[in-house]
Amino acid sequence: MPALTLDRLEKRYAEHTAASSVSLSVEDGEFISLLGPSGCGKTTVLRMVAGLIEPTGGRILIDGRDVTRLPTNKRNIGLVFQSYALFPHMTVFENVAFGLRRQGVDGADLKRRVDQALANVRLDGLGDRMPRQLSGGQQQRVAVARSIAPRPSILLFDEPLSNLDASLRDQMQIELKRLQREVGITTLFVTHDQGEAMSMSDRVCVLAHGVVQQFDTPEAIYHRPATGFVASFIGRPNRFKGTVQRAGVQVDGGPWLPAGVGALNGLPEKTAVDAVLRQEDVRFLRADESAGFVLDGRIALRAFVGSRVQYVVAVGGIELIAEAQTNGAHAALDIDAAVRLAVDPQHVYVNAAQPQEAA
């Protein structure tokens, strides 16, 4: 039995639809990310699961039980907010104990379980502090400890790391992942950061305009994007506008690109399309190398970004970004150097043009 089932969940407002027919099935102990740009409906879905927003259609089942009409306080969930939402007038201990007390846990048992939860997030011994005496990262850990202490059926995260600075965020990602493994609670994690979603999740659900675009493993999402939106949202994409021509895409004012088997999805010739070619899928060729499809170009700009070097390459009237490994043969190309780029047709993702789709 799935730990969480969303069955054609829907939220319509007067002007727009925040979620339409969202169906998901999450297995026990799984870590699922809801990934999408802001306004894609991911937070709406999460808040409907929490019972903070009432759906206009569909059902929510937690451990097989229909909770669609159940108030938040009867759902046995844990929710970690972006703003932490700690109780500022209570000590860290009392914050974590709040949910346990509601379950009737008290005395030595209460202390043991609060201490356990604080140990889980490595905040041992800070129970007497007030929230405002803690750093942002520590406050976030208290929020996590508070939500896991009552052992909820499902743990929900609403962009929990976006208020932390970058280095702390990386560290918290790993810690949250490890904690989730240890505690084994089914987790739904909302984020707009693809790196966060990819690195932490068992499966990722990509949302756009309130519609599920793809629900699959991070590998599948990355290598086999189901829609043009997913292709252009995941990875570091070059986006082109063009038209279908000769089993490929004629980029407006630029070169022709081949498309892989099935990539055109039966789109007829001359159809206006959006094509995506990821920066990391463009390969620099050595002078003696050859490939199935080659673009000739000229280096326009070079940017060193640590583990890789990004080049802006002028190719037949347009510019695209290509990457090379810092320790590879193409790490030190000069401006205006002539280069040859290999493009695998399987890496060209094509989708019928949708002008409003700005990721």
Partner: protein, 286 residues
């Protein structure tokens, strides 16, 4: 020059006009009253040249003065409590209503303050007097035979002053309740707290700053009010403020009036100090 003094200096310049006005128009006259309060008052001949502490000691020892002080405090705490009990639900409702409703209700709360204080107090006389609206109605209906005494006593003052100071309480509470992040209350719901529990454990303590400022404001306004106690208390049922007024302008016993003024100030500061301390501990800001 440290960063602290650099940032403080322009601030000092900004407040200095107000500071000067307060110094000459308020603090200096108040200090001039200190020696006055230590003079002896001889009935018939006025203020004598002798020094005495009697003006202060009599406030504690004299049964009449003691009664007035206790009455003032009971009135202060009573009106504050009534305003809090009546004002909090209203403020909670206003804070949680939509923008149009909020504006309408806020205007309604402010509206009575646009009427002159004397008029409002007089309105209560018309209602509460022995031959007033309420007594007449109750007698006509046959519920009572003799009018119930509702003026010139604590009841009248509690009713009248609660009405007059309620808007201040509500206006202080609304922003405090609005300032509570919705996420914090939602977090409590996700932790299986009932609505009542969320109110008692989260909303109420987190609105402590508003409760404190509203209560202090209403308390201070109540114990220093003159017009309403004068009108609804009459010449005999006195509070400290009316007593001071009479000392200065009727009996001309300035030393006693000055001493009573200082006692009132000291009481006010004591109550504010203690309540702030307690509130901060409760609201977690200690």
């Amino acid at each position: 020059m440290t960063a602290g003094t650099r940032t403080r200096l322009p601030g000092l310049v900004l407040v200095s006009p107000l500071l000067l006005i307060l110094l000459f128009a308020f603090i200096a006259p108040a200090l001039l009253m200190v020696p006055l309060s230590l003079r002896e008052y001889v009935p018939g001949s006025g203020i004598s040249a002798n020094w005495t502490l009697a003006n202060y000691t009599s406030i504690v020892t004299d049964e009449y003065f003691r009664e007035v002080v206790v009455r003032t405090l009971v009135l202060g705490f009573g009106v504050t409590a009534i305003c809090l009990l009546l004002g909090y639900p209203l403020a909670y409702f206003i804070a949680h209503s939509g923008p149009t409703m909020r504006l309408t209700l806020t205007m309604l709360v402010i509206f009575p303050m646009l009427l002159n204080l004397v008029v409002r107090s007089f309105g209560w006389i018309a209602l509460l007097a022995n031959r007033g609206l309420i007594n007449n109605l109750l007698i006509d209906v046959g519920l009572i035979e003799r009018p119930i005494r509702m003026m010139f006593n604590l009841f009248g003052l509690l009713v009248g002053m609660s009405h007059i100071f309620l808007p201040f309480m509500v206006l202080m509470l609304v922003p405090a309740i609005q300032a509570i992040p919705k996420d914090v209350q939602s977090a409590a719901y996700t932790l299986a707290a009932s609505r009542l529990r969320v109110f008692w454990s989260i909303t109420l303590p987190m609105s402590a700053p508003g409760i404190l400022s509203g209560s202090i404001l209403v308390f201070v306004l109540t114990i220093s009010a003159l017009v309403t106690p004068r009108m609804l208390g009459g010449p005999t049922y006195k509070v400290m403020a009316t007593l001071i007024y009479d000392d200065f302008l009727q009996t001309l016993d300035w030393p006693a009036g000055a001493a009573m003024s200082f006692a009132l100030t000291a009481l006010t500061m004591l109550v504010i100090g203690v309540s702030s301390r307690l509130m901060k501990r409760w609201g977690g800001q200690a």
